[in-house]
Symmetry: C2
Subunit: 270 residues, 2 copies
C-alpha cells in the first residue's frame, strides 16, 4: 500500500484510527466460545463493525502466538478478512541479524500479506534493512514506546546530550524514506512528540497508548498532525472490549465512531 | 531447567555447545523434500546425530514462521523431539509492553515448552519481567550482538561515557539473577567480552557468531569461561549445513564432535 493510498483513505474516511486486534481469548464474550474459532469470530464481528471508521488494523502477534497453531490460523484468517483498502500492521516487534530478519520479512510479507511490521531497533541497520527492502511494504520502527520501561534506556542521553530515542529516529530515518518507514511513538509521551516532529516532520507515526494506557487523543493530534495527517492512532482495549455481551460489536462500533468523529474535528477533515 | 542441571549436563558431556536449528527449507538436502515434513525430518536427523555432543538446541523462530502454519508445526515437533536433559532456547527476540510480553511468555513457556527465550531490551523492564517471572524458565536478553548493526546503537556512549550495551547489561542484571537470566554476547566482539565478564562474572552467556560469522571459539572460551563454565556457544550453519547429501547428519555429527573436543580441551573438562 502506498503512502498516497493511505492518505486517500484517511481523507475519505475522515479518520486516522487504527484498531488494535489484541484479541485475548480469556476476554472475549463467552457466547463466542462455542464457535469453531472464537478469536476469528470475535475479530470478524469487530472488523464488520469498525471498518467504516478506521483506516488500519494492527494485529498484535503475541496474542495469537499464545494460542499456538490455532492462534496462528486465527491470525491468518483475520488478516485475510480485512478489506484491501485498509492498512494492516503486524505488531510483531521483530528484528535479528540480516539473514534472520529476511526470514521474518518473508513470514509477514510473503507467507502472510501484511502491509507493514513493527521492528525493534537494538540490533541496528542490518536487522531493519531486510524489511525496508521489500517493495510496497512498510517498516515501523520503535522510537519512543508508551510503556513505563521506555524510561530504562530510551531516554538515556549520549555524549552529545541526545536521548537514545532521538538518535534511533535520526539514524533509522536515513535507512528508509517517509514512503516506506514509520515510527512508533507512544501517546503517553506528548512532551517528546514535539521534538520527534521536529526530527521527522514528514513521516507517519504509529501512536499506541491512547485509551487504556492514558494517552490523550487531543494532545497527540495537536502536536503530531502534519500536512498528510501523518498519524495512525491505535486504540485497542477501549474499542475491542467496549462490551462483553452479545452486543459487543455494536459497542465497539460506537467507540470507533466516537474516535472517528473526534479525529475528523481535530484534524479539520471534511 | 535449573542452573545446576545445565552445569551438570555440561560436565557430563564435556561440552558447552549449543546447536542452532536455523533450518532454511531452501538449504536442506533435496532428498528430504519428499518427506511429509522436510524441516522436521532434517532437524530430527540432526538431533539424533548431535545430541551426544551438545547441551543445548536453539530454535530460530524466524525460519519456522517464514513457512507459516506448517513451519510452526515443524517447530513444535522439533521442540518435542529434543530430549528433556537438553536446554532449549526459543531464539525469538521478543519484547513488548507488559501485557503483551505476558502473552509471548505464554506462547513459548506454556503453549510450547521451551526452557528459555531471547528477548530484546529496548522497551525496558516491564517488557522483560513477564519472562523472568515464569518459574524454572530462563530469559536471555540481548547484550552485545554479533552483527555489523551492533555498532549503530549498542556502542553509543552515554553521558557517563558508558556504552549502551554495558548499561543494558548492568541494568537488566538487577531484574533477574544468574539463575534465571542470561545475556547474548556475540563471539565477534571478543574485545568487549572481557568488560562484560567484569560486569557479570557469574551469568551464563549465550554466544552466537562462532563459525560462519567469524568468531573464534578459542578466544571466546579463554575470556568467557567462569567457574561453572558460564558459556553456551551457538553454532548453526557450520554444523547443520556441513553436508548437503544423504550423509548430511554424519557430517553434522563430525562437526559437532570436533567442537565438543575443542571445548573439552579449552575448558579442561575431564
Amino acid at each position: 500500500m502506498t503512502r498516497e493510498q493511505i492518505v486517500e483513505e484517511i481523507r475519505k474516511k475522515k479518520s486516522y484510527l487504527c484498531v488494535g486486534l489484541d484479541t485475548d481469548i480469556s476476554k472475549i464474550p463467552v457466547h463466542l466460545l462455542q464457535e469453531e474459532d472464537p478469536v476469528f469470530s470475535f475479530n470478524k464481528a469487530l472488523i464488520d463493525a469498525t471498518q467504516a471508521y478506521c483506516v488500519s488494523y494492527k494485529i498484535n502477534t503475541a496474542f495469537y502466538e499464545a494460542q499456538g497453531i490455532k492462534g496462528w490460523q486465527s491470525m491468518e484468517k483475520t488478516l485475510n478478512y480485512i478489506p484491501s483498502n485498509i492498512f494492516t500492521i503486524a505488531d510483531a516487534k521483530r528484528g535479528d541479524i540480516g539473514n534472520t530478519s529476511t526470514q521474518y520479512a518473508k513470514a509477514f510479507f510473503e507467507q502472510m500479506h501484511f502491509d507493514s511490521i513493527t521492528v525493534a531497533p537494538y540490533m541496528g541497520k542490518d536487522s531493519v534493512k531486510p524489511f525496508l527492502d521489500v517493495e510496497n511494504k512498510w517498516t515501523i520502527v520503535l522510537g519512543l514506546t508508551s510503556n513505563e520501561g521506555a524510561f530504562d534506556f530510551q531516554y538515556q542521553k549520549n555524549t552529545q546530550d541526545k536521548e537514545l530515542y532521538k538518535q534511533v529516529i535520526e539514524t533509522v530515518s536515513t535507512w528508509g524514506t517517509p514512503k516506506n518507514l514509520m515510527f512508533v511513538i507512544g501517546a503517553t509521551k506528548t512532551d517528546q512528540l514535539e521534538a520527534v516532529r521536529r526530527l521527522i516532520p514528514d513521516h507517519f507515526l504509529l501512536v499506541p497508548g491512547v485509551g487504556a494506557q492514558g494517552g490523550s487523543l487531543e494532545e497527540v493530534s495537536r502536536i503530531g498532525l502534519n500536512k498528510d495527517i501523518g498519524l495512525l492512532i491505535n486504540v485497542s482495549r477501549q474499542i475491542i472490549y467496549a462490551g462483553n455481551g452479545t452486543d459487543f460489536a455494536d459497542k465497539a462500533r460506537l467507540e470507533a465512531m466516537k474516535m472517528q468523529q473526534s479525529m475528523q474535528q481535530l484534524a479539520g477533515l471534511s
